[in-house]
């Protein structure tokens, strides 16, 4: 771990300003991902701005019948909230499918959106990685890629976004609210929040330097039946090989997003329109143009079969 300076921010705009004005600075909330990466020098911030005193720890109703989730609401509290469990069950299911109880107690809503990839080459500083060190190359391409991405990846990076919570938020059309150091606020649809890697895999999201997440809002409840199907080798405490977040309406229409396959939660609206035709129709469209490796080609049929299980449950 490299030495760094540390401050505890007292208000959000000042926090954003502190990060924007200090090259190499980062926010820290729960620290469940950042500290691990700092210990192995995958992350080497020069300055940490701790946002834990900023509040942002409430879940409130919005004027249009949705929910505003403070950026610092813990994963545990979010998953356990009665309104979330009743009206946005896909979100609760996704959260409790991730990490462990201890980590969820500490991890924040904003931090979860910002967690970094789990590509093993990203984690090993001896290996080339464009995400860790821009321009150094990608050791994962041609290497061990069973966990890695099958679509939306690039010649620079084939990593995935590893989270579960964001996949559920994607089917719910969540919106990420931010503030910057000038006090400027912005509302970013989650569809646009995570970037595809392209030539700049070092940039995970569209956030500008110093831009601070203050809340995630959910629109009015969708109704329907909610599913989070997470496929993994062991029963708990493992990243998704493939996950499916879905909200299915009584008429068989609905929404679906996939996790573990791409740089961001993978939802193709034109594909989910095909839900009434069955899983294969949806995934054929959603994964058109996929570029899997030999190691992870199984994720394509797996996505179809995982979605088929959701559709079957919705009809049961």
């Amino acid at each position: 771990m490299k030495s760094f300076t540390y401050e505890r921010a007292k208000d959000p705009v000042a926090a954003a300003r502190a990060v924007a004005g200090h090259p190499g600075a980062k926010f820290i909330a729960g620290g469940t991902n950042l500290l691990d990466l700092m210990k192995i020098e995958v992350e080497t911030p020069t300055h940490l701005v701790d946002v834990q005193d900023l509040g942002f720890d409430r879940i409130e109703k919005t004027g249009d019948g949705g929910l505003r989730i403070g950026a610092l609401v813990t994963n545990t509290d979010l998953a356990a909230d009665d309104r979330v469990r009743r009206d946005y069950a896909v979100l609760t299911r996704a959260i409790v499918a991730g990490a462990s109880g201890q980590l969820r107690n500490k991890a924040s809503t904003a931090g979860n959106l910002l967690q970094r990839t789990r590509c093993p080459y990203f984690y090993d500083t001896n290996m080339a990685c464009n995400k860790r060190k821009p321009g150094s190359g990608c050791a994962a391409i041609g290497g061990y890629s069973r966990q890695l991405g099958v679509i939306g990846v690039s010649n620079s990076c084939i990593a995935t976004f590893p989270g579960d919570m964001a996949v559920a938020m994607r089917v719910l059309d969540a919106v990420v609210e931010t503030v910057d150091g000038t006090g400027q606020r912005r509302a970013i649809p989650i569809a646009d929040f995570h970037r595809l890697w392209g030539d700049h895999p070092e940039q995970d999201t569209v956030l500008k330097p110093g831009e601070l997440i203050t809340a995630v809002t959910l629109p009015r409840p969708l109704g329907g039946r909610h599913y989070y199907e997470k496929v993994r080798d062991r029963a708990s405490y493992a990243y998704a090989l493939v996950s499916v977040a879905a909200v299915i309406q009584p008429d068989g229409t609905g929404r679906v997003a996939f996790g573990g396959v791409a740089p961001r939660p993978w939802r193709v609206e034109a594909a989910e329109a095909l839900l009434p035709q069955g899983a294969a129709a949806v995934t054929a469209r959603a994964f058109a143009g996929a570029t899997p490796t030999k190691d992870n080609a199984f994720k394509l049929p797996l996505a179809t079969r995982a979605l088929a299980s959701v559709i079957a449950q919705s009809k049961a």
């Binding site: 771990m1 210990k39 789990r118 093993p120 496929v231 029963a235 708990s236 299980s309």
Partner: protein
């Protein structure tokens, strides 16, 4: 005490303490944090400096130069050790590869330097500033490729299995060609990591030319001897201590670099130094269970009698290394007049392969017991009945040798009955909601090994019995079973026995490995107690032969005395060790069992989840049923890991195990293990040792993987022969769902 003839009746047979479920005597220390592990000897070492290991960034090549300027200038740095300034180092007898790289790099994450600083954080930060210029060389990292030209090689794991390069009985090829029913199949097992909870760690302190090392090691005398060789110093100047070990699984059988670099770092910094390997370093820096590629051929008559059996295995290791002896059990497990086993060893430049829990048998049984399942199906026989049919009570290669005890058939039959085996249906026939449900069985087999083991026992005037031996407790329960043994022998309660373990100043024991620890180390304490009883009887003026030690008293005929009286004029001390004659040549000493597993395979995703497991074991006298059960359920859990998820992924370009942390090298979590049951058959093996005990710690693993694999086949009708059985290996053959 030399054990040369089968044990007659002895004080252990009373089984008033031995054989009784006994909670861990060290449990309260562990649950209150008072049992110091290797990194935690704060009482002995108040002000250590901290060492951080730099691992090699290449799989094969040389170090051109190392620039230490930045690291040396970093805050808190006291010293840096590299091969260039460490002086001439030897290589330990049990190490295949030298522990400190330079200029040659033998494998990825081989230690290149140790940075010593005032704090752990300073050492870690400075370690990242060590600039190493490497010349990368082409390495051999592809086992399948390397095996094409690999020679036949015999080998021993040093702590269990041994097998010659090739071994024939009868005429295998002819018998196999003539067999009406036959199987010829290939199986693979991957490289596996021990993934023990406690990382490798050591604290070293010098006093003049004397060195003390607190470490985490299974074999005190091996470690001490190899440290002396490595540092070119007299063994008697080293004190080597490992009183508590947080898991080893064979990874800590040997001297590793944490101990060596702590000693060198302490010398350079002129201060005690503690070193722990960080988790990401462990998989590549230390040893692992080597991958295997195995071919099994079985020929049988139509009635199921095996007429020909051959098992060939290939594995790889560093130059000078040894093969994974995966064919060993096939010499002994089933009858058959015509037999062949052979092993090939390829040279690889991956990290050093070595023993991991049940070396040889664990991966060997993963293959052999699938083959038996496949053969039973070809014969249209029940897999239990097929195994029973081919049981043998003699060594199939040498029918004059009988097994000392062999209750495999009873294990299978009793297990089948308890497990509800009769409810097993044809492959793919049982469905429970989205789950395809199947049952599988495998035999369990692991050889027993005799190892000399010494102990010293003391009787104090207060009647406290103290046991001193360098035996280790790696979480297995050694403290408890040694206390039970001394308590039984001296006729005192377990709480009157004090145990002092894991210290090279005590008599050399068997150590912990190869499931030989429990039986041999208790036999060593037995031997020392026999001597102490003789001293007690002499002090009290009794005839030692007929004195009974019971309830703190010594009784002979109508005379009786308080045990404490014997030490009233001064502590009594006795020391002895158990040694063995050739009973293990006359008789075949092995342990047996049967594993039954029920799995569900998700018809949609192909994911397998174990539903329930049963092990029935026949392994000699069970000294402590609760710690033995813990050993077996832990081993069964490890077997599930091997069957379903554990695999060190090899990057064949750069020569490393890529998934080198516990996030991506997955081992089972609680949610993977819903229900386990363990049954021990009554057995006392008088050919093994005076305790009449053998071991269970590895038996509990051998066969589990195949039982899971066979259950998956029974669930799906799709046979997978490559471990781990992850979903993509059968997904495309599962029934269509969309």
């Amino acid at each position: 005490m030399k054990f040369e003839t089968p044990a007659g009746t002895n004080p252990i047979d009373r089984m008033t303490v031995v054989g009784k479920p006994t909670s861990r005597v060290d449990g309260p220390l562990k649950t209150t944090g008072l049992a110091p592990y290797a990194y935690e000897h704060h009482r002995e070492i108040a002000n250590p400096a901290y060492g951080h290991v730099v691992g090699a960034a290449i799989g094969q090549g040389t170090i051109r130069s190392i620039d230490l300027a930045e690291a040396k200038a970093a805050p808190g740095v006291l010293a840096i050790v590299t091969a260039a300034d460490a002086g001439k180092l030897g290589k330990g007898k049990y190490n295949t590869v030298k522990l400190l790289a330079g200029p040659q790099v033998d494998h990825y994450h081989q230690a290149v330097a140790l940075v010593v600083a005032e704090t752990f954080e300073q050492a870690r930060a400075a370690a990242a500033l060590v600039r190493v210029d490497y010349a990368r060389a082409k390495g051999r990292y592809d086992l399948a490729e390397a095996l094409k030209t690999a020679p036949l090689t015999g080998g021993s794991s040093d702590e269990g299995s041994a097998a010659p390069p090739i071994d024939r009985t009868g005429r295998f090829e002819r018998a196999f060609a003539a067999a009406p029913v036959k199987l010829d199949a290939e199986y693979t097992t991957p490289d596996q990591s021990h993934a023990m909870m406690e990382p490798f760690a050591s604290i070293a302190a010098w006093k003049g030319d004397e060195l003390s090392v607190w470490t985490s090691n299974q074999m005190i005398d091996w470690g001490r001897s190899d440290l002396a060789i490595t540092l070119n110093m007299p063994k008697d100047k080293i004190r080597f201590l490992s009183p508590y070990v947080g898991g080893g699984f064979g990874g800590k059988l040997f001297l590793r670099v944490d101990a060596v670099l702590a000693a060198l770092g302490a010398k350079a910094a002129k201060r005690p130094v503690k070193v722990a390997l960080t988790r990401p370093l462990i998989a590549n820096n230390t040893t692992h269970r080597p991958a295997t590629r195995q071919r099994i051929r079985i020929g049988a008559a139509k009635d199921g009698t095996i007429t020909a059996i051959a098992h060939e295995s290939g594995s790889g290791d560093q130059p000078g290394g040894s093969p994974e002896t995966a064919v060993n059990q096939t010499k002994l497990l089933y009858a058959g007049a015509n037999r062949m086993i052979s092993m090939r060893l390829a040279v690889l430049d991956l990290p050093e392969g070595n023993a991991m829990r049940a070396p040889g048998e664990a991966p060997g049984m993963m293959a052999l017991e699938i083959a038996m399942d496949e053969m039973a199906e070809k014969l249209a026989m029940d897999p239990v009945a097929f195994r029973v049919k081919n049981d043998t009570q003699v060594d199939p290669e040498d029918p004059k040798r009988r097994f000392s005890q062999r209750q495999l058939v009873r294990c299978l039959n009793e297990g089948a009955q308890r497990f509800g085996w009769s409810r097993r249906r044809a492959p793919g026939a049982v469905r429970d909601g989205r789950w395809l449900v199947g049952m599988g069985v495998a035999a369990a087999f692991r050889n027993h090994m005799n190892m000399p083991s010494g102990a010293r026992v003391r009787l104090s005037p207060a009647g406290v019995v103290t046991v001193e031996t360098d035996m280790t407790d790696i979480g297995t329960g050694s403290y408890t079973i040694l206390a039970q043994t001394a308590a039984e022998m001296m006729g005192v309660p377990v709480y009157s026995v004090v145990l002092k373990l894991g210290d090279s100043s005590f008599p050399v024991s068997a150590g912990s490995g190869g499931q030989f620890g429990a039986a041999n180390s208790t036999a060593g304490v037995y031997a020392a107690c026999v001597r102490l009883r003789a001293s007690v009887a002499q002090r009290l003026g009794f005839n030692s032969a007929d004195a009974v030690f019971e309830d703190g008293r010594v009784t002979s005929g109508n005379r009786s005395a308080d045990l404490r009286q014997a030490a009233a004029t001064g502590e009594l001390v006795a020391e002895d060790k158990i040694e063995f004659g050739d009973l293990d040549k006359t008789w075949q000493l092995s342990t047996f069992g049967a594993h039954f597993v029920e799995v569900g395979v998700d018809a949609y995703t192909g994911v397998t989840r174990v539903r329930r497991m049963l092990a029935v074991c026949a392994a000699g006298r069970i000294i402590n049923p609760v710690s033995a059960r813990s050993q077996v359920i832990g081993a069964m859990t490890m077997g599930v890991g091997g069957a379903l998820m554990e695999e060190l992924a090899v990057d064949k370009r750069f020569g490393l195990f890529v998934n080198h942390d516990l996030a991506l090298y997955e081992v089972p979590v609680h949610a993977d293990i819903p229900h386990q049951e363990v049954v021990f058959l009554d057995e006392a093996d008088d050919k093994a040792n005076p305790m009449k005990a053998k071991g269970v710690g590895e038996l509990g693993l051998c066969g589990v993987g195949a039982a899971v694999a066979n259950a998956i086949y029974n669930a799906t009708g799709v046979r997978v022969r490559d471990y781990p059985i992850t979903l993509e290996k059968h997904l495309d053959k599962l029934p269509a769902v969309a």
